[in-house]
């Protein structure tokens, strides 16, 4: 701040004697006085030096005060610089207006009274100092915001890098477990007498639980990508019916107590990111299985709501969601069934809602009279019809 505290006053007058008299009047102020005897000299000084106040004679040969003021104002750095005109000739109101149009700040008639000159200059010097302080504070704030943002981004990057490494390291032993469980199952299929039959159920548990572990790891990674807005959707025309059939086939291998059905009234191709929508559907079906502990039917229906929207309905007949918990189910880390120890990380529905939102779609939960839960995912059929849908908050009956 020290070096910046210097305040420069530029005095312009074609008569050196007058400049000397102004200098004498202003010596009491803590400012640096710079003298120029022509408009051109003044402009040169202005280009090289930061000037707080320009004090100038209106009538000068060659370039008069008004013309000089106009030139000064053209420079972006001097658009707000205070200019005090000193005029020996009688100033009509017209002249005065002309001065103010140029952004002039003040006038001083001749004879110049030292106290008035000092007072006027002081006011502008003070204004200049305060403005400069504000600008410095502003710059400081900006640079601090930039610094903090960078630090935050770096921290997020470290977190994400760590998660990626951790996920890789966790998946490696899981892969080993998973392959070996499958090898046992394969051996049992090929040579039923080679191994005891009870091994099958236990190998199945290892296989399924290692898949579950993998899904949990994926969820943690998904959440970090969604948080960082790194998740992008790549939409391609997709046969949503085939996609659903595929996901159901995979889910059916995880349970023998639940039966799945798939019906569709449309063969529409929908422009979605197939991997992401598969993820939404498997999350919803995963929940449907998890929260129908007694088994039962899980119904998936695909319906063309209209020419521009398609809905995927996932209906289970499970334990449902308590009315007071329905509002929060799409929130991050929310576990509607935490007390029953049935929940995972509280990320599944949040990830679903985020993916659906990336598609400009809507996800909602319905709670039919006869129990269970129905999730409804509504997606725009085409990318072009991308008007954001109104999010239906809460639950419908």
């Amino acid at each position: 701040m020290q070096a910046h505290d210097t305040v420069n006053i530029l005095m312009v007058d074609d008569q050196p004697a007058k400049l000397l008299s102004y200098e004498a009047m202003l010596t009491g102020l803590d400012v640096v006085l710079i003298k120029a005897t022509t408009g051109r000299a003044a402009l040169e000084i202005l280009l090289k030096t930061d000037i707080a106040v320009v004090l100038m004679d209106v009538s000068m040969p060659e370039l008069d005060g008004f013309e000089l003021a106009a030139l000064i104002r053209q420079h972006p750095r001097y658009q707000k610089t205070a200019i005090i005109f000193i005029s020996g000739v009688h100033l009509t109101d017209l002249d005065r207006i002309r001065g103010y149009e140029l952004g002039a700040v003040d006038y001083l008639p001749v004879p110049v009274i030292p106290e008035i000159l000092c007072a006027k200059v002081s006011v502008f010097v003070e204004l200049y100092r305060k403005t400069r302080q504000l600008e410095e504070l502003n710059l400081d704030l900006e640079s601090r915001v930039i610094e903090r943002t960078a630090a935050l981004q770096a921290a997020l990057q470290i977190r994400d890098d760590f998660l990626a490494v951790a996920a890789h390291e966790l998946k490696t032993p899981i892969t080993s477990l998973h392959i070996n469980a499958q090898l046992i199952l394969r051996r049992l299929r090929r040579e039923p007498d080679a191994l005891p039959g009870w091994l099958k159920d236990q190998a199945l548990i290892i296989e399924q639980q290692s898949e579950r572990l993998t899904r949990l790891i994926e969820q943690v990674l998904d959440i970090s990508r969604l948080d960082q807005k790194k998740e992008l959707v790549e939409r391609v025309p997709t046969d949503i019916m085939a996609l659903a059939a595929n996901v159901i086939a995979i889910m059916q291998t995880r349970t023998n107590r639940h039966s799945f059905s798939l019906t569709s009234d449309t063969s529409m191709m929908v422009e979605v990111d197939p991997g992401k929508i598969e993820q939404v559907l498997s999350n919803l079906l995963d929940n449907a299985i998890k929260y129908s502990p007694d088994g039962g039917e899980i119904v998936v229906t695909i319906r063309a709501t209209n020419a521009e929207e398609v809905s995927i309905l996932v209906r289970d007949h499970g334990i449902g969601i308590a009315p007071e918990k329905r509002e929060a189910i799409f929130e991050r880390f929310y576990q509607a069934h935490a007390s029953e120890h049935r929940s995972g990380l509280g990320l599944g529905l949040y990830i679903c809602s985020q993916i659906v939102a990336l598609h400009n779609g809507v996800i909602a939960a319905e709670f039919p009279e006869d129990g269970g839960t129905q999730f409804v995912v509504t997606l725009p059929v085409r990318v072009q019809s991308l008007k954001p849908m109104v999010h239906k908050k809460g639950s419908r009956r």
Binding site: A164, L177, N180, Q182, L183
Partner: protein
């Protein structure tokens, strides 16, 4: 070894040996390597007909191995990448792999791919297939 083997490259010995056991069981000759350098030695010695490749390995990773292998003259075996990394598809296309398996994977899916790129010696004889590069 009368038939050209499948090379399985993974620094995780339990994965390499389990995959080897599976493929052996399917009637293939199999050799394993724990990193890219070992894999290049195996390639020089055994001319594998199919390579199943992990990406993240010490000494020489899958990417560096693939680059070195692709730079070699002569017929090239198809590459199947198996990786636990997030950018699996991306890195697989970068090294011009024929297929990619995200770890953990279903062994049936691995076998499908192996049969596709190296028709089983038990069923289809021993014809060398032209790799897609």
């Amino acid at each position: 070894m009368t038939q050209p083997p499948i090379l399985v490259v993974d620094d995780e010995i339990t994965i390499a040996s389990s995959v080897a056991e599976l493929l052996h069981d399917e009637g293939y000759a199999v050799i394993t390597a724990a990193n890219g350098v070992e894999a290049l030695e195996c390639v020089a010695r055994h001319s594998p007909k199919l390579i199943i490749l992990d990406m993240k390995m010490p000494v020489m990773d899958g990417r560096a191995f693939a680059a070195a292998y692709r730079a070699q003259p002569g017929p090239q075996a198809p590459l199947i990448v198996m990786t636990a990394a997030q950018d699996a598809t991306h890195s697989a296309s970068e090294i011009q792999a024929q297929a990619v398996l995200a770890k953990p994977f279903a062994i049936d899916r691995l076998l499908e791919l192996v049969h596709l790129y190296y028709p089983s010696p038990d069923r289809d004889g021993d014809g060398y297939i032209e790799p897609r590069v």
